[in-house]
Amino acid sequence: MSKTIDKLIPLGFSIFIILVWEIFVKALQIPKWILPAPSIIINSLFSNLPYMFNHTIATLAEALLGFVLAIIISFIIAFLMDSISFIRKAIYPLLIISQTIPIISVAPLFIIWFGYGILPKIIVVQLVCFFPIVISLLGGLASVDDDQINLLRSMGASNLELFKMVKLPASMPSFFSGLKISASYSIMGAIIGEWLGAERGLGVFMTLAQKSFQTEKVFAAILIITVLSLGIFLVVSIMEKIIIPWKN
């Protein structure tokens, strides 16, 4: 298959699904406040676009800041856990616990600690995103060929050098699996963060639209969320291709 056709497949398939949806909604006469037809959603998107712009920017900013923070923290945690066995054992359970607590149930604590600004949203995104990255990084680090490690150690490599030269590159494929998972979560993380209270953002927009039963606006927001998430995912995928050239 040629490259252009490759790119047309997902597009074509999406169009197919949208068509089925449109026909299905029209044929069954499903009211638009239950499930609006794609045409209505697109229409609503365009008529609300200028004023959704601000909300979109807010959410995107939260998501990107949180995502980048998550990557940085993941590396620090994974490095520490990999190098110092005491830290690994002490922190592992806490990592998991951090994922099992439904954020909404401890929302009051978040507000008391971090107030109502952009900070709590970034922290929520960070919390949602860092876990898949850490676990994948650790998985990747564990899968490194011991003989390669031994060889470099026998050449006098320090822990940091081993990490940089062997462990990190060897765990890049696994790391990118985690990064792709997180990339897909980042925008949704920001939306969850906005439930903790926000003035702007697509989460706020959706809540308001939902409360006034403008389902088509909710779906217009979901469409934007989806496009943003796919965009971040795509950037990560391209980075993967660039950073792992030896896999091609």
């Binding site: 009211p31 406040w33 009051p108």
Partner: protein, 310 residues
């Protein structure tokens, strides 16, 4: 799914009721009716279910449940979006909600709201309400700082940047009393008659009116009995609710119930009845405030017709 299909057949007696929120003292009459066998006596088997966040109106609109709990603003909003729901009983006669603040914030009248921070959900309706109250007292709404507190509760949010918030007195206000926290409270219905909307209300899908009026009648007959029991026996009614939902704080439920039992029927002739004027005025106000995109026919938004005639 099953209950729904059968519920739409004229002769069956199964039906689903979807709450508006977690079970609380607003719903006591329903739990009493179920526990005391009032529904059973009418040949009904009522399944009480909890809603997905904000989903009750849509579920009723889609006929996936026969009865639901909502509130006047939501019904008005829904009808302006052509969702075919309709109120058939007002659970509490007058609006028991209002703006509360810790005593230390010194907010006694709407005038005092100037230069204070409001913590809410950021809906246009909240803005409009605060504005309406303040304008009546020649206060400047622009001086209020609006903060979206999302899912945080009253007690938490006033710890941080928030000065006042919108509460249901019968629950959060009562909890403050139990906690020994002194509040200032501005009651919506006392300050501004237009804001004396019905909350909560019981709703149905319009179609049910034609398809199975008998079901509605039987349901409301039993439900009325439930609320009447709660009005007359607050303590016992509270215990029935707690027995069904033991996760709730028993002290809070009992205190709340004592407060609400007096409010269910209020000054009306009987429980559940709603005035056309209040529906009309509130809808008009909402339209003027641009809270709804188009006017609604209030007479179609509610009916007292199915309430027991006595």
């Amino acid at each position: 799914k099953e209950e729904v299909k059968e519920g739409q057949k004229a002769d069956t007696n199964k039906a689903t009721l979807m709450l508006d929120w977690f079970p609380n003292t607003n719903h006591t009459g329903i739990y009493v009716a179920k526990e005391k066998g009032f529904y059973e006596a009418e040949g009904l088997d009522i399944n009480i279910v909890q809603p997905p966040e904000g989903g009750t109106v849509q579920i009723i609109g889609a006929k996936k449940a026969e009865f639901g709990i909502s509130y006047q603003e939501e019904v008005t909003n829904a009808r302006s979006e052509e969702i075919p729901v309709k109120a058939i009983a007002g659970v509490i006669q007058h609006n028991t909600s209002g703006f509360a603040s810790p005593m230390v914030k010194n907010i006694k009248t709407p005038k005092d709201l100037e230069n204070k921070a409001y913590g809410g959900w950021g809906t246009p309706a909240e803005t409009a309400m605060i504005k309406a109250l303040m304008e009546k007292h020649d206060a400047d709404f622009k001086k209020v700082k609006m903060i979206n507190i999302g899912s945080a509760d009253f007690f938490t949010s006033v710890q941080k940047d928030v000065d006042f918030s919108w509460i249901f007195y019968g629950w959060t206000g009562v909890e403050a009393e139990l906690k020994g926290m002194d509040l200032n409270y501005i009651s919506l219905n006392e300050e501004e008659p237009i804001l004396d909307f019905y909350t909560p209300v019981i709703i149905i899908n319009e179609d049910l009116e034609k398809e199975n009026p008998a079901l509605i009648k039987k349901f409301l007959k039993a439900t009325s009995k439930g609320y009447e029991y709660a009005i007359n026996n607050p303590e016992e009614a509270a215990n029935i609710l707690v027995a069904k939902v033991p996760e709730l704080d028993k002290d809070l439920v009992i205190a709340s119930q004592k407060y609400l039992s007096e409010k269910y029927q209020g000054d009306a002739d009987k429980w559940g009845i709603m005035e056309e004027g209040r529906w009309e005025n509130y809808a008009k106000w909402m339209f003027e405030q641009k809270l709804i995109a188009k006017e609604i026919d209030s007479s179609k938004a509610f009916t007292n017709e199915f309430l027991p005639k006595e």
